[in-house]
């Protein structure tokens, strides 16, 4: 009798010890990290994925700069970590293939020609006459014809932050498409409201670069939308400079100065929207870029640029360090470029169109940076806190479940053994 009782006591102690050990696994710590991250003191975003819809609404050779604007921001959001799978790129014309282009298969946004915006790695989702107000609204509301490829759909959810950029020729509360049709501010406003009702976004950053651009957001009424235009009502929006070898203006002022600012933004930088907008002065733009903040309670000072133009990943390649052997759980194997150059090249690449659609932060992070041999550091980007290192792999809900299962089994076994001992003692 005593023997059985002692055995049961030992097993119970072992079971408890096992349960404690499971609770203290990296999964536990990761869960704790997420909880801390989502409740950041600075009012940070609690989004779980980032998406971008980049629209060039105008066609024809002389609107080269609008294509360059869009491609510039396309390159920027990719550099900051949004994968092609999460970018809907709409180009109304293909100036790179225009016979008027002195540099075939190239698009430049600067007369110095240092960067070919067209490059080797570009995925245009809607091109030419596919770029219409109807298709833009279909993308936003996810009302597509049957058989529409997944790459043409905006698969956001309630945790998605959306960056919506549109450039072209517009006017008071409208934007021209293809020089033929128009989309109205009210159309976009209603589409955003549909998205809200369908829980298709967490927050939206809307940018319009056109004449009287601010009026394009005048009818917005859905919460969580921050809008800014390159010009106020009654103002024109201007191009920045000519490229005489191409023979036209290659970029607009708003985008040019935005890119100037973005040069200093890394995927893990803490730059805020307010800092960005402060760079867009009247002196630089020759127009007034004033954000509309009343629908965005968090405020531009508390919203980081990377909340919209970057990636939600908390992981970044780190030069050196001993965190190796991580593997993705859901995103598949994704090639990650060298991080030798530092943060700037942190998450560039991302040529895999991984799942990344509903898995939230963990899945997306794994998809982007879980490549073999990558050296990762897990960082809490808030307020520049020291990144937390997690060894043994990135915790996921699955890992957490596995740890709890082990503890439960141990406790169950101990209980069974104890019960058997008690029955035996009674029997004897």
């Amino acid at each position: 009798m005593r023997t059985w009782s002692a055995l049961a006591l030992v097993l119970a102690l072992v079971a408890r010890a096992t349960g404690d050990a499971a609770a203290d696994t990296p999964a536990r710590r990761a869960e704790a990290f997420f909880q801390s991250s989502s409740s950041s003191p600075a009012g940070g975003s609690n989004h779980t994925s980032n998406w971008a819809v980049l629209v060039d609404a105008s066609r024809y050779w002389f609107n080269y700069r609008h294509i360059a604007n869009t491609l510039s921001l396309y390159r920027t959001v990719k550099r900051l970590g949004i994968p092609d799978s999460n970018i809907i790129l709409m180009l109304a014309d293909d100036v790179s293939c225009s016979p008027r282009n002195s540099f075939p298969a190239s698009v430049f946004g600067n007369a110095n020609h240092l960067a070919n915006l067209y490059g080797d790695n570009i995925e245009v989702d809607y091109r030419g006459y596919e770029v219409t107000p109807e298709n833009l609204l279909r993308v936003l509301t996810d009302r597509h014809a049957p058989g529409t490829p997944r790459s043409k759909r905006l698969l956001t959810d309630a945790g998605s932050n959306l960056f919506l950029y549109i450039t072209g020729h517009g006017g008071d509360e409208f934007m021209k498409f293809q020089d033929q049709t128009e989309i109205m501010s009210k159309d976009i406003a209603d589409a955003l409201e549909q998205m809200r009702e369908k829980r298709r976004y967490n927050e939206v950053l809307f940018i319009a670069e056109t004449c009287q651009a601010a009026t394009l957001a005048a009818r917005f009424y859905s919460p969580g939308v921050l809008a800014i235009g390159s010009s106020e009502k009654g103002e024109n929006s201007y191009s920045h400079h000519l490229d005489r070898s191409i023979g036209l203006s290659v970029i607009d002022r708003f985008t040019y100065w935005t890119l100037e600012f973005m040069e200093s933004v890394t995927p893990h930088a803490g730059a805020t929207l307010a800092q960005w907008f402060s760079q867009l002065t009247n002196h630089r733009l020759h127009s007034t870029a004033k954000p509309r903040l009343e629908l965005f309670p968090r405020g531009a000072h508390d919203a980081r640029v990377t909340d919209f133009l970057g990636h939600v990943s908390k992981a970044a390649p780190m030069a050196g360090g001993g965190y190796e052997g991580l593997s993705s759980s859901r995103g598949g194997r994704v090639r990650t470029e060298s991080a030798d150059a530092g943060d700037d090249a942190a998450t560039r690449g991302g040529d895999g169109r991984g799942d990344g659609t509903g898995g939230g932060a963990a899945a997306a992070a794994a998809g982007k940076s879980g490549g073999e041999g990558a050296r990762l550091k897990v960082g809490d980007e808030d307020a520049g806190r020291v990144p937390k290192a997690v060894d043994g792999g990135w915790a996921t809900p699955g890992a957490r479940a596995r740890g709890e299962g082990v503890a439960f089994a141990a406790v169950s076994c101990a209980a069974l053994v104890g019960a058997a001992a008690w029955v035996s003692a009674k029997a004897y």
């Binding site: 024809y60 002389f62 016979p99 008027r100 075939p104 005489r244 070898s245 023979g247």
Partner: protein, 735 residues
Amino acid sequence: MRPRDAIVAGLRRVIRHHVAASTALYLLGVLAAALYPALARRTFVDENAFLVAQTTVGFDRRDARDASEHYRAAIDAARTSPGDVHRSDALRGWLEDELDALGMERYRQAFALDRHSWTRGDDDWGRRSDASSIDNATHGVNVHAVARAARGNGREGIVLATPIGAPGATLEADAAALALGLVVMRTIASAPWLAKDVAWLVADARWGPGDHGIAATDAWLREYHDPGSSTHHSAGHLTQHRRHRAQLSPSPLALFGRVGALQQAYVLELPEGAVADVASINVVGFNGALPNQDLLNVPVQLAKLAGFPRAGIFADSSRFSGTGGGDGDGGVKGGDLFDAVGAVVGGAPFAADLRRVAGFALALARGTPAGSHASFKSYAVDAVTVRMSGSRGVPTGGAHRRDGVSGEDAFLRLGTFAESAVRCSNNLLETLHHSMFYYVMVDDDRFLSIAEYVAPQGLMLASSLVTAIALAVIGTSTGGVASVFVAEKTRGKNGGKNGGKATPAATAPAHDWSSALALALLAHVAGWCVLLVATRTASTAAQLAAAYAGALATAAAALATWSNNVDGDEGSFDGDEGDGRVGARREPPWATLKVVALSVQVASLGALTFFNFALAVAVTAPLAPLQLWAHGGVGGAIKPWLRAALTLVAAPVLLVATSCAALGTDARACSLGDAAAAHVAWGERVHVLPLAWCVAWPGLVLAACVHLGGVRGWRRGASTREEEAPGGPEGKKRR
């Protein structure tokens, strides 16, 4: 009072006082024309796709040096050619060799000329034209080269044209044009931005009216749009050329290279050779047809960017003057009238503006083009002629100018301009549809659009219309006028009570429309006969004889028609219908004829306004007052027959003399025979002579007939019911 009632009442008041209203409207129209410069707006390039001044130019000093070498080589080739080869043929041969050396597509087109193009007779140069051709007097040879856009779709093309061999052109001028075109085409053909094919037309300017190769360009365009047709257009008496048509163009489709739908054309003329100080833009086509204004403003900007000190439509002061002599303002030569207006309104600058407006309008009204761009416009291809000359702006005919830019420097400017123009058109994605096609230039950078310049014409036509309506509705009788308005007023008041019945005292005018229409038709048919005589004989005397014969016939017919009704009781009532309605009062036949004449004038000149505004105004301005003044009254200081004679004889002479004095034109040069010859020479495509004989002259004849209405009354001893002054007695009484 409702707005509608107010408007109706106002219109009735205008009709009632139609004499004063017509006079005021006409004077207002004249005043508005005098204030044209005050309404002018700044020019601008409306089509953004031109992308003017946003590129680096590929034509550089090395190309200019090459052009200079080609220039010398072309001159040598022409001078060393055999004596029986025409100079321009030698240049063409040299050009074809050079094009072959460049590996560029080239095509040769031998074309038979239309009869109207063949007005200079035999070769003015005194030598045989083309050794391989069949007859040097009746055909020309065009050469064109094509630069293909490697990445273009070949659906659209641009044309550069350089006419050579014009009677006034020197060898140096032709050689410079060919050297420039050759190097520009070489540069363009290798340009990475080329999206449209470019054709370079070297037109044979030896034939046809004018010195700009218009006949040759016509032939090239005919062949371009209708293969094989350029040889079909030979005149009936040129049967020999028809027999040799196959030899001229054995396989047009195979030998004539095309560049798709032609979008724009730039004609470059270098009358002084390699000299580049003034770029004079010419846009006036047949009958005042103009290209889209963007195609005027773009070359002006490009020329200035290329370094031309002066560029614009008035840059060459010899143009837009009546006789070709410049006055320094680019406008017409006559000064007194414009200076007088300027002294009242805006001083010397205003007078200069007005002079330029008049000069430009005169060029439009003439309807004869001064460049082969007019041929392209006939095919709905926007085109301009750019004439590069020395700083004085007057072609000297010499080889080189010592002042200003010449030689290699000039080629650099010329090449820069030509390449820039082609690249601008290359950037276009659509045909020109912005900007405007109806405009009058006030200066190189100011213009009047149709919205501004149509007002005077509208006011002058409105003055005629008011009188026509007044005569048709209320007639000439005082009683009739008063009673009609009394009746209408009464109807208005009692409309709801007695069913709209008028008072029995009211009368309405009754017109004999058929007689008046027959007379008007006769006058216009007679005018058309005069035009036939003009085109057949090209004689001043024959035209005058035919014109006055037709006028006499019309007048005789009018008198005969009216004398048949001499017992008719004009002014009498046709009878009361017995139900209290208005009785008809028969109007004098001259009043009806005046209504018809004014209506025809308003309709024809109103329509012409939209085809050739300047010509329409030029006809309306003198014709309207003459027709308004016409009346059949028997009183006054001037007898009716004398008024008729003044209308038909003195008025045209006075009008021509006044116009010539105002515009600085030599009146002795205004020969009807020359006008008829020019009309034939231009292929009867110019509207001045038809308008003069078929619209203006019949208008005068009808006005004279209206005056003759008083002759009958005078013989009868004066009818008391006829009016005694223009506008009728009611006008005087009401005034």
